[in-house]
């Protein structure tokens, strides 16, 4: 494993008035790692991610994402990361090709690059027969995989996934995770936020946030040993009830 760090956060803090949403969190994510960022609703996950992707300025502490500083280099950060959320990603009324072209355009890809990328995505996902169909007509699982591919259209170093596979059937979910594994295998860092604990089990390492602090950080296996738990669900419950 290489030791290049995709994300380094050191005592990263965000306060809103007297309320500390993110309380001095410190963690590293290695390049090519699948990192699960877990926590209950309101634990501070969203605020932390907003700081990492350059949408919110930290109150205190340091962080580098893809080697860029979260205070001064937010524009560079945005160019080097991809983002996919279950709620917001593809335009349902545009075709597969139009979506790829649009997102390629946003990241300043040339017309030729967009063409190559479109070709690549359509053939990797076996969407050739559907490339001129509107995205809304595709099954949920295909949409998810397409959304992931589109999030990576500009070859970002890190892809942030916000609750990527809630509610899909077990087979579709696995196809999706296999895509993630393949991307990670090529050195793309994957940062997954979720409150579905069974999704966490697919990550290399996970952190669990409780009330603004990272209360646990390790591989799922080690966490289960540490907390004497059967599943990640149990780990989470033990942490939250402690």
């Amino acid at each position: 494993m290489t030791t290049i760090k995709a994300i380094e956060a050191n005592l990263l803090t965000k306060r809103f008035g007297s309320f500390t949403a993110v309380d001095a969190i410190t963690f590293d994510v290695q390049q090519g790692e699948i990192f699960g960022f877990l926590g209950a609703n309101g634990a501070g996950k969203t605020t932390a991610i907003k700081m990492l992707i350059g949408l919110s300025r930290p109150t205190d502490g340091q962080a580098k994402v893809a080697g860029f500083d979260v205070y001064r280099q937010t524009e560079q950060i945005k160019n080097h990361i991809g983002y996919m959320s279950q709620r917001f990603s593809l335009y349902e009324d545009l075709t597969v090709k139009q979506n790829i072209r649009f997102y390629g355009g946003i990241y300043g890809l040339s017309r030729r690059e967009i063409k190559t990328k479109t070709e690549e995505i359509v053939s990797n996902l076996e969407l050739r027969d559907y490339s001129n169909k509107v995205v809304g007509a595709l099954p949920l699982g295909w949409k998810q995989r397409l959304a992931f591919a589109v999030a990576g259209v500009h070859d970002p170093k890190i892809i942030f996934l916000d609750e990527p596979t809630g509610g899909v059937d077990p087979a579709t979910r696995r196809q999706f995770w296999e895509m993630i594994y393949a991307a990670a295998n090529q050195g793309v860092t994957i940062f997954v936020t979720t409150h579905y604990m069974d999704e966490a089990e697919y990550c290399d390492r996970i952190s669990i946030m409780v009330d603004g602090k990272i209360e646990a950080l390790d591989s799922p296996r080690n966490l289960k040993i540490q907390f004497e738990a059967k599943s990640m669900d149990d780990v989470f419950i033990k942490l939250a009830r402690a």
Partner: protein
């Protein structure tokens, strides 16, 4: 007599078949789970059973009443918690509960015993608007509102979706206590791991029932040899195993791969194969199937 009886129900929306000839019974006092992913037809089934939707074909009965002909009688005796949070966000916790008590012609006081241990946790926040509650608290309020008129049958459509693990665990504990009070509960969930918390389950996928039984019977019926495998190079291992003739299915299950074998092959032979591919820190052990393994298997068979 069954609390819920479903006979050959079919329902289509435009050209999409949501339910295809579904039949099953739920016994009185049972905690019954409808397990399946989004789009499997769970919500459609609930809308038919709660008399909101007419089936295209087939019949359904709740406590012996026909869901279309006797819909008024059914509406008096059921509690329904829709999949989407469906309370008045701009009313307070107390106002919501009061309103639902009144329209069912009862009062919070009269049936407090039913909701005491659920609503009790909400009472400190009873002046708070429902829209400002956390996911777990919303879910408790919705359950309280569905329970306030002492229903005979409770229909809960994905009550644990979007709720954190702690609230989910608490919710299932509450369902256990309600069941003990003799209320029949039909609950749906996309989480396979919640199946084992039900007495009986129906696995449902694209409008078809894949299997109905107790969770134990369903997993025990998985007769194929199943192994959990891992190594230091997970992704490569998965690809390599998939290319092998002895592998019927190789699926990632968190940090392990679940390997279902066909042909006659021993655990030792599998281990040797993996070792021959240059993997280290190999773990391999025969395991019992989970509901998810069965679901994947049944999906493939269908």
């Amino acid at each position: 007599m069954s609390a819920v009886k479903i006979e050959n129900i079919s329902k289509s929306f435009d050209t999409v078949l949501a339910l295809a000839q579904v039949s099953f019974d739920v016994l009185k006092g049972e905690l019954f789970g409808l397990i399946g992913p989004d789009g499997a037809g769970k919500t459609t089934m609930f809308k038919i059973l709660t008399t909101l939707l007419m089936p295209d074909q087939g019949k359904a009965y709740v406590e012996g009443f026909h869901t279309v002909k006797d819909y008024k009688k059914i509406r008096r005796i059921i509690g329904y918690m829709p999949g989407k949070f469906s309370l008045y966000q701009d009313l307070t916790v107390e106002e919501n509960l009061n309103f639902f008590a009144t329209i069912f012609n009862t009062s919070i006081k009269e049936n407090y015993h039913l909701i005491a241990d659920i609503y009790g946790q909400l009472e400190p926040f009873k002046k708070r608007r429902a829209g400002n509650l956390s996911g777990g608290m919303k879910q408790k309020l919705a359950l309280s509102c569905a329970l306030i008129h002492e229903p005979k049958v409770l229909f809960l459509d994905e009550p644990t979706t979007g709720v954190d693990a702690v609230s989910r665990a608490e919710f299932w504990e509450m369902l256990g206590r309600l069941k003990a009070k003799g209320i029949t509960i039909v609950v749906s969930t996309p989480y396979m791991d919640e199946a084992s918390l039900c007495e009986r389950i129906a696995l449902i996928q694209t409008g078809k029932i894949l299997s109905i039984d107790t969770p134990e019977h369903i997993t025990n019926a998985y007769h194929k040899p199943l192994y959990a495998v891992r190594s230091d190079d997970f992704f490569r291992l998965m690809k390599e195993l998939r290319g092998q003739h002895f592998a019927e299915r190789v699926e990632p299950f968190g940090e392990y791969l679940h390997l279902t074998t066909k042909d006659q092959i021993t655990e030792h032979e599998i281990h040797q194969y993996i070792q021959s591919q240059g993997h280290s820190t190999i773990e391999l052990s025969a395991i019992e199937a989970t509901i998810e393994d069965v679901f994947l298997d049944l999906m493939q068979a269908n």
